[in-house]
Symmetry: C2
Subunit: 303 residues, 2 copies
Amino acid sequence: MSRDGTTRSLELYLRERKANIDKALDVYLPKTDTYPPAIFEATRYSVFAGGKRLRPILCVAAAEAVGGREEQVLPVACAIELIHTYSLIHDDLPAMDDDDFRRGRPTSHKVYGEGIAILAGDALLTEAFYLMSRADLMADVDADRRLMVINEVSRAAGCFGMVGGQVADLQSEGAAVDEETLHYIHVHKTAALISVSLRAGALLANAGSGDLQALTNYGRKIGLAFQIADDILDIESTREVLGKDTGSDEERRKMTYPALFGVERSRHKAGELVNGALVDLERCDERAWPLREIAAFILERKS
Amino acid sequence: MSRDGTTRSLELYLRERKANIDKALDVYLPKTDTYPPAIFEATRYSVFAGGKRLRPILCVAAAEAVGGREEQVLPVACAIELIHTYSLIHDDLPAMDDDDFRRGRPTSHKVYGEGIAILAGDALLTEAFYLMSRADLMADVDADRRLMVINEVSRAAGCFGMVGGQVADLQSEGAAVDEETLHYIHVHKTAALISVSLRAGALLANAGSGDLQALTNYGRKIGLAFQIADDILDIESTREVLGKDTGSDEERRKMTYPALFGVERSRHKAGELVNGALVDLERCDERAWPLREIAAFILERKS
């Protein structure tokens, strides 16, 4: 029971938030009857491929943790999901990780061909910035603050964030990678966007600097824990559960936490990060309960 | 001689503006000693490949035409050049136009491999939005107006602009294409970014709605004229002058204006567009002289 006496359930919270995000994405993304249809089909195919919507949910939960409302941040939350989706499409390409399946379905380039898959990624990345800069949405948020959010999200997505991480990842395949490089890859490829999801939600909800810093620290830690958990799942899960080829990291001699430290030490490391993230949230009140439960959930997830 | 008695020369104007834009790009883009170096090398390789900087120059010239200053618009002008460069890198990929040379040098994927080339494009597109949203630049421009510019640029770059045009172009290869489709491709793939370059410059310089509309119309027309001139050059120029394989459109059975209407009718069409663009500028005063001369220059250029 939460303080206000209502039963709180993370499962219910995640389901409701995901439903609202899916609905908003459907409204924001152009329909497939638009010309040229291939690009609208391809972008929707990947956006509505059954993602968990972790990043936009974290964005909304961060806003709520500091007293903001879901409607204030929904466009930015959805924009971050579009950026996440673009990165998956491009990462799956033959010239990158060369994956044929994602979430149990053929990847974009297997369905639409490489050219359209590259363009679908480009379109989603561009659409994210279009969405964040729309004047008809989030009119109650200060324009300077909205520019700041666009700036932070672009930083997290670019060379000093996801792109940098993917480059290091691509170049480390088959090579002997040290802990420092592995840390760089995980922090930039995964944790940067997760962390900025929380910052964006907090900034749009006018968080004070102390709360903003706490949510940033929480984000970095659960982002890293999430990636370690993902690497462990890649080894332990089966394709049926995960919806993509497993053991592919090992096959590709891709460097991962479990490969470097073994599964047990990796699990311990992820647990330490989650505990640290919970300490970061100590200054936040009861409204941060979903963030606390999501942190624990990261260690338990099976897909 | 211009009204104020100074000698005006388009050649000098273009050279000076290009120098300032090149200098600004060098300042804005991270150095190659940053980790991971491959991505910073690849982005700089394509950005500093000898481009004419037409789009950023148009952005600056539009601002000046309505009384603005170069410094006010330089970050956005450079951001538009980054978007143009990203589109060239991705268009040249084997899954798209499969071009080995651009501006006399091997294309990005020939030098860095396909994976890094895709990521270099992604990085430049993302960096463009980072640049346009930096709080330390253009501090004297109203935040709402800066959001509006980001919104317009992203629209021109996305599914309803460049990406849409490239999709239609990709799908029309080897197919019988009608005039309507060809027009769609040119308007979206080329004219959209050229037109928004002018709009962005004008918006940042607080242009009135009449001037803004005039510059928009001018941009659409010279954008289309530029593409027609480009298609004619592809047929008539030699590889030595142009720095890329010529006749490649024909070889690929790519639909172009000259292929559909012949060279003479295409040249006539481009001339009509330029004349129309000059009519659009009639409401502008002497400060629009570079825009007037650039329009004429588009028909005369040899590379």
